[in-house]
């Protein structure tokens, strides 16, 4: 199965195949290189198709940029 689809969550066009089904040709696990969303090609369309992916779960580059750190990286004890 070709990793040709766009990311359902952020519409990024670079999508990578992470794993393929041990039974050949059944499914692939894909991952978006921008938002890191990961999905299996046989999941319901609401999780795999951009046009059906729910608005409330979508993510934009701005969302990623603005995401807070958990936990915050603390200052170094002994700055070099």
């Amino acid at each position: 199965m070709a990793a040709s689809s766009i990311c359902p969550r952020c519409a990024h066009e670079t999508v990578e195949t992470v794993f393929t089904s041990p039974v050949p040709g059944v499914w692939d696990v894909l991952q978006c290189r921008q938002c890191l969303y990961m999905w299996r090609t046989t999941e319901p369309a609401r999780r795999t198709r951009r046009d059906l992916y729910p608005e409330k779960f979508r993510m934009t580059p701005e969302d990623i940029e603005a995401a807070i750190e958990v936990p915050l990286v603390p200052p170094l004890l002994d700055p070099r």
Binding site: S21, V29, Q31, L36, Y37, M59, A67, E69, V70
Partner: protein
């Protein structure tokens, strides 16, 4: 007989009619999560689920809902499966008194037979990973016992930590982990990051059922989870050293993943449907690099569905949240009778207590807010009289409906700490907290018109036993 691994517990569940094997072919998504979502709705004796015919996989074994009912929780503690909730909590309290029980070091763990190292690591080849909820950012591991040690005090066995945290799979050898600031691993990570170091971690998956219970118990920083497992099991917990990191891990696990949380690095993670019944994320979270995976031949992937409560996680961390709060209250207030902190890991806590004098119940409620776990949870505390069973919600509702006068019984304390996943907080981490005094005023507190309360007839207890016997003979 305590269980030394998941497999022996699954055998017991099977014998007790508490393991449902789904032999028909299922889709990895949405079937397995949807079945585990549905399973607890079968009631107090809902079974665990076992899948081994999953489309596209040749070698998948997935166990879900292992702790997901009162019957299964009782069996995990070695109690008869009919044991009631309140009795399970009482037994938990009795066994806690035996803490600490030193673990037993063993050699040759069964998960030592197969390994992947360095660049050959591919977690997808070991675990049949699946998505749980629609909005999850990917495949999660949410029932692994994550082991870490204090980088400033590495030899201190007490401050080594075993906890369950949400872990997202980001790649063949890359994971994300959420260290909630109130949890011990966050303290370990902060110390490592202040030094500019990575934090070594080991993730043990597929464990004996008591390991999962202690790993989700709110224990103090210097209390060791394996020593608590020994107390709960009534026998030392079998552990061994993880081969790469040297961290102490369960001897009986199915899979042990070792690596490091990469110091001072954060990357987009989530969202993930959390134990609050709400999604949280995406936020920039820590990154784990996997350096080694050790696994049993034909490993069983034990996984946990969580969603709108109640699901398995509420059983897993229900009783074990009640016990430490009860112990800590009891130290100062022996009048406390029972604590029910089973709702969303103690965001609501119900306490029954005798009263020393007027206003006493409110003081007990305030003490709940300052217990170590109450600080980050306990958004609402309900205090009831000693004759109200806090595990009997109709009785609690009776207390609320007749004993509580909002004029004097609601105490609202502004801007208190709460864990950041609590959805009701305006600013994450800060919330107003509420104490509801639903006890009968006493002593110099003369509010209300309570006259005399109707008490159970003295003969009712005997009749209850007799009716049970009669009903059983029908």
């Amino acid at each position: 007989m305590p269980y030394d691994d998941l497999r022996s517990f699954l055998e017991t569940l099977d014998k007790e009619g508490q393991l449902l094997r789904v032999t028909d072919e299922v889709m990895p998504e949405p079937d397995i999560a949807a079945a585990a979502n549905a399973a607890p709705r079968l009631g107090d004796a809902a079974p665990a689920l076992y899948f081994d015919n999953v489309k596209g996989f040749t070698d998948a074994r997935i166990a879900m809902n292992v702790h997901g009912s009162w019957a299964n929780h009782a069996l995990a503690l070695g109690l008869p499966k009919e044991t009631g909730t309140k009795e399970q909590v009482a037994e938990f309290i009795r066994r806690w008194a035996d803490f600490p029980v030193r673990p037993e070091w063993r050699d040759n763990p069964p998960w030592g037979r197969n390994t992947m190292d360095g660049d050959e690591v591919d977690i997808f080849r070991v675990l049949p990973l699946i998505r749980l909820n629609d909005g999850d950012g990917g495949f999660y591991i949410d029932k692994a016992a994550v082991v870490s040690r204090d980088p400033g005090d590495p030899q201190n066995f007490g401050s080594q930590n075993v906890g369950i945290y949400r872990v997202e799979v980001k790649g063949k050898r890359r994971l994300a982990l959420q260290p909630v600031p109130m949890h011990d691993i966050a303290q370990h990570l902060r110390k490592a990051e202040e030094r500019g170091e990575d934090l070594p971690v080991a993730l043990a998956l597929g464990n004996d059922p008591v390991i999962s219970i202690v790993a989700s118990t709110p224990m103090k920083y210097d209390e060791n989870e394996y020593e608590m497992a020994g107390a709960l099991r009534g026998a030392p917990a079998p552990i061994t050293r993880a081969p790469l990191t040297g961290l102490p891990v369960p001897w009986g696990s199915e899979v042990v993943v070792e690596g490091v949380i990469e110091g001072r690095r954060r990357e987009i993670e989530g969202p993930f449907g959390e134990f609050t019944g709400h999604y949280s994320g995406g936020r920039k979270m820590t990154v784990i690099r996997i350096d080694r995976i050790s696994y049993r031949t034909e490993p069983v992937f034990e996984h946990l569905y969580l969603g709108m409560p109640w699901t398995e996680i509420d059983y897993l961390m229900g009783p074990n949240t009640c016990v430490p709060i009860y112990q800590q209250l009891k130290q100062d207030f022996p009048e406390v009778q029972a604590v029910n902190a089973m709702f969303t890991h103690g965001l609501v806590v119900i306490v029954s207590t005798k009263k020393r004098y007027g206003g006493f119940a409110k003081a007990v409620g305030m003490r709940v807010l300052t217990t170590p776990h109450g600080l980050g949870y306990a958004a609402t505390v309900i205090v009831v009289d000693e004759d109200v069973d806090p595990f009997n919600l109709p009785q609690v509702m009776w207390a609320l409906s007749t004993k509580m006068n909002p004029a004097g019984d609601l105490i609202r304390i502004p801007n208190m700490p709460v864990m950041e996943l609590a959805p009701q907080a305006d600013a994450p981490g800060i919330v107003d907290k509420l104490i509801i005094d639903a006890t009968t005023p006493t002593g110099s507190d003369r509010r209300g018109n309570f006259s005399n309360q109707v008490k159970d007839l003295p003969e009712t207890g005997e009749w209850l036993t007799r009716l049970h016997q009669l009903a059983a003979r029908r």
